[in-house]
């Protein structure tokens, strides 16, 4: 079990509300039996579209290569349950996400993968994005223990549900071991559910 307390590194912004998982990883890249190789396709269509308009998506911006903290806005990861979305982000090199809000399934996937996703206010998400756009070399620290995001001398308050925070701090974000430890009790619970025995 590895506990996850703080993650530090350079950061990358992806601006916009309601960025759905189809945009994070388009469905055609889901034709695969492993998650390997998804990293290079993160935000594939958004990137292509911006390039065609003569603009640059942050994932194509050399200044952000090697970043390990992703900073987003509201309702990030809505839509499909595909774990391919957080996996693509992680395989690209991201280790923690900061944003205003995340869709539930996306957030659950992040927990299960050991990639903390912390919430900050609308204004703070934009302030952090502006700070890293101004100076992409700035070191950002995502502190799961203290629930803070720090960049240079700047500090922002962050949030995460207490249960999830504990999961990261105690290394129990990978729940499988704990769940298996409860198997005896699982059988007891199942035996009390009338449908499990077909109402016999």
């Amino acid at each position: 079990m590895n506990d996850i307390r703080t993650i530090s590194g350079r950061a990358i912004p992806v601006r916009g509300n309601d960025i759905d998982t189809d945009r994070i990883i388009p469905a055609r890249f889901l034709r695969c039996v492993t998650f390997d190789g998804l990293g290079e396709h993160a935000f594939a269509d958004d990137r292509k579209q911006l390039t065609a308009q003569g603009k640059t998506h942050s994932f194509d911006d050399k200044r952000f290569v090697g970043a390990s903290v992703l900073v987003v806005n509201s309702n990030f990861g809505c839509g499909s349950s595909r774990e391919h979305a957080p996996q693509a982000i992680a395989k690209w090199g991201i280790k923690a996400i900061v944003g205003v809000s995340f869709s539930e399934i996306f957030f659950g996937n992040c927990v299960a993968m050991g990639m903390p996703a912390l919430r900050v206010s609308v204004a703070d998400s934009e302030a952090i994005q502006s700070a890293i756009e101004k100076d992409p070399s700035i070191q950002v620290t995502v502190d799961v223990d203290q629930l803070k995001v720090r960049a240079g001398s700047l500090v922002w308050n962050a949030q995460m549900g207490e249960g999830h925070r504990k999961q990261f701090l105690t290394g129990q974000w990978d729940a499988t071991g704990e769940l298996i430890a409860g198997l005896q009790q699982v059988k007891a619970t199942a035996s009390k559910l009338p449908y499990v025995s077909s109402f016999k």
């Binding site: 945009r23 199942a190 559910l193 009338p194």
Partner: protein, 470 residues
Amino acid sequence: MSSRTLFDKVWDLHTVRTLPSGQRQIFIGLHMIHEVTSPQAFADLRLKKLSVPFPERSVATVDHIVPTENQARPYADDLAEEMMSAIEKNCRDYGIRLFQPGSGKQGVVHIIAPEQGLTQPGMTVACGDSHTATHGAFGAIAFGIGTSQVRDVLATQTLSMSGLKVRKIQVDGKLKSGVYAKDVILFILRNLTAKGGVGYAYEFAGSTFAAMSMEERMTVCNMAIEGGARCGYVNPDETTFAYLKGREHAPTGAAWDKAVKWWKSIASDADAEFDDVKTYNAADIEPTVTWGISPDHGVGVGENIPAKESFAKDEWALIDEAYHYMDMQAGKPIAGTPIDVAFIGSCTNGRISDLRETARVIIAHGGKVPASVKAFIVPGSEAVKVIAEAEGLDKIFIKHGFEWRNAGCSMCLAMNPDKLKGRQVSASSSNRNFKGRQGSPAGRTLLMSPAMVAVAALEGKVSDVRRFLK
């Protein structure tokens, strides 16, 4: 033990224990598997040498990648073939039932489980697919999960989860002619936004839902996820029991009576307390069409594209992007928008009642799909296909210029040969109008009821279905 919601009751009954993290270990009564989100879960089981203790509580099918035209194996797409072989091997190795094409039981996962009576009230249902919310129509607590969680369910039949708040969405009154379950959920999404439901389960209550068939309730619950709610449900009632009676996996004889009694007991109490309540009138709901890139971007078919100012300020950037991507202009009517492709199907609207209503509307209209439009109808399951053909619906569709396909997800997400091309505009009975969702990175999707898709196909443009219904 009164004043409790169905959610609270089901959650407590399925709680195995509180985990050290404070989350609960929740037993999953029905686990469904499909080919896209499961291979990595099985790979992890092998890697960690884990077994599957409750294989009988999982069922698998293939839907996302299955071609709806030529289903001969091996599939033309090597990657699709590889995924198909993977799920066959995984199900064989771990003793899990797999409903394959040709078995008569294959189809979109959220269509086949209800039609076989696998989904029942009071269950917890999980699947590596966000539209698992569909099964809430039965009074089940049903939610989508990611692949790591698919592995957890396989290995333990449980998940580590936090609870949800419950919002009651009460809609009362009779829907107007030409207004369908799809319009009801698009209306709710428009009012509560795509993120308004984060942290909630939605309970759909009131006389409008009480009057709906099970298939209509499934359409509503299916799209609860588009409002950010992890799950949505309708309390089980006589309509639910009548639907289940006689289905393959429904209880029979004395067990049936016991089941009905238990199913009734898990419904929300009359004085149940909710974290939030929203109330709407069915009479206010119009046939609804989405104009933007999020399912909450809906307008009545008689309305104009809304101004940016009618949205919260933090949505403005998205709204601008929507105008630009969709090539829509505020103040212009949505009716009359030309379409290139019409798609009827998906787990939202690929059931037999959807196809019957589609046929009725096509006959009422009487025209033929113009050459400029590619229109196709994809039954949600092999069983739906059999019924539709026995009723002669396929002949009606074909006669009026619609293609008739085999069961699958098809162009709902276009992981198979059914895809938009370039900037094509699709009138679609599916559930997501996200950028690029239907297979072309620049393709555009207008969500609407199957009846509205049918008239859009016949007219070549977005049109009010009520003009053609008496």
